[in-house]
Amino acid sequence: MTHIDGDDLALIAMGELDRTEAEGRHLAECPECALELISLRHTVAVGRSARTVELAEPGAQVWERIHSELGLTDAVAALPRAADYAIGAGPALAADPAAAEPASAEPATGPATATGPAIATAPATATGPATATGPATATGPATAIGPATATGPAAANHHAGYRRTRRARRVWLPVTVAAGVAGLVAGLFGGLGGGIWWESLQQQQVAAPVIAEARLDPFPGWNATGIATVEKAADGHREVVVDLTGLTSTAGLREVWLIKADASGLISIGLLDGDTGHFSIPDGVDLAQFPLVDVSVEPDDGNPAHSGDSIVRGELHTT
């Protein structure tokens, strides 16, 4: 069996290519490619959500305090600077094809600050400490993902001729988008921000024997979001409660999975009928080993493997 080409799989994970029918068939019967795709998509989602992250330096007195508390020698008294240890940070961006190949073979470009202008990690709209206490995903401004469904004809024309290129939509809606959704909902409550909305949800959960929960963020092409909570009964039996909102398409079957953090294994825990469902977690399954809750859309073909087509996913955190 021929696996999907690595370059194509990466582009599919980026949300740039639609899979061909043959690739879709292959994904349905090849758990390796399906898991590879799941894992790559997770990487893309985290990578895109890192947009608003800008690295900051602690004050110089932090090293002084470390130095003093550990009783280090004068040889290392000076503040260690990233630039002094850079081992090949490229200063400029050569858009030169000749530079392309060797560039990726370069060693680590040491410090964050040394590479400075090379990659401006986003316009840092909300990296300030003030917002940092809220849920991680609430840092993205709602406007950043505004045109989620905009299908600019200009964009579409741009790729005329590339068979599967689908860029018309800007719907990768990764983690940051959930922020947008949260922000919209919060807006209804008076524009107080996602944190309050999230908190009010938590307040409602106080009475339930919830031991873990995950916010479920959408994958490219989906607008749904949701929450998964794990409830533990007095007899030790655990259940996942999945609650989705914004699910518009009802095509196919929806299956709920627990997945390892590195996507090296997964367990199906049942089919989701409608937006909400309770799913029994088999005793002996360690949630620390399977922290990801995933809802996928599955073709009705009797194939028990994950289709690779996830609607939402989130990581469980103990409460």
């Binding site: 990578g47 990726s104 590195d262």
Partner: protein, 202 residues
């Protein structure tokens, strides 16, 4: 349930040869660090204090507390260096793991304080929503993106944040399509390895 070997369908993704020089460099630093060489501590601080600090400040929202966390993390790492298992994780992933725990402790201390001060549980419900894991992953990702070579870094920036297709990227950087595609695949796999190393380390 699958129990799959970690293998990529197209082979070779996981051990990207481009990472070799960097791995040698990392191995040298780890050896010196474990041997108690102060210079190695200084170098580790130079490389990763911004990673540790940024995770802490974004999670706690307080620069002062974040600096305390940064201080604690490097002191704990130095004093506990004998417990670092270089076969299991990389130094930055280990530091991020210590950061997570220290941040969680700080959140806990905070909510304890608040419970005492206010005798109301409202605030502490909020602080239970500790998203330090997500923050750590995102900060780690930013750090990794900046460690890519300048060209792959530019490619990924255009692909991730400017939402360009690989054909648009090829146009704008004047590169062959195949080169852009392979940059995207290699960078994505490298970021994934780092992310998974980060997830494994706690």
């Amino acid at each position: 349930m699958y129990d799959l070997q970690r293998r990529s369908p197209t082979g070779g993704h996981r051990s990207d040869v481009t990472a070799l020089t960097e791995e040698d460099d990392h191995g040298r630093l780890v050896t010196a660090f474990l041997a108690g060489d102060e210079q190695a501590l200084a170098e580790a601080y130079a490389r990763w204090s911004s990673l540790v600090y940024t995770i802490a400040v974004r999670s706690l929202g307080d620069p002062g507390e974040a600096e305390d966390v940064t201080q604690k993390v490097f002191i704990a790492a130095w004093r506990g260096r004998a417990t670092f298992q270089s076969s299991r994780s990389r130094l930055p992933a280990w530091l991020v793991g210590i950061t997570r725990h220290t941040v969680a402790d700080t959140h806990e201390a905070r909510s304890r304080r608040r419970r005492v001060e206010e005798a109301v549980t409202f605030e502490h419900e909020l602080s239970q929503a500790d998203d330090s894991v997500d923050i750590a992953d995102r900060v780690m990702m930013t750090d990794e993106l900046q460690r890519l070579g300048p060209v792959p870094q530019r490619v990924m920036q255009l692909a991730f944040y400017d939402d360009l297709t690989h054909t648009q990227i090829a146009d704008s950087l004047g590169m062959p399509l195949g080169t852009v595609k392979s940059h995207i695949r290699r960078s994505l796999n490298r970021l994934r390895m780092r992310l998974e190393a980060n997830d494994d380390a706690h």
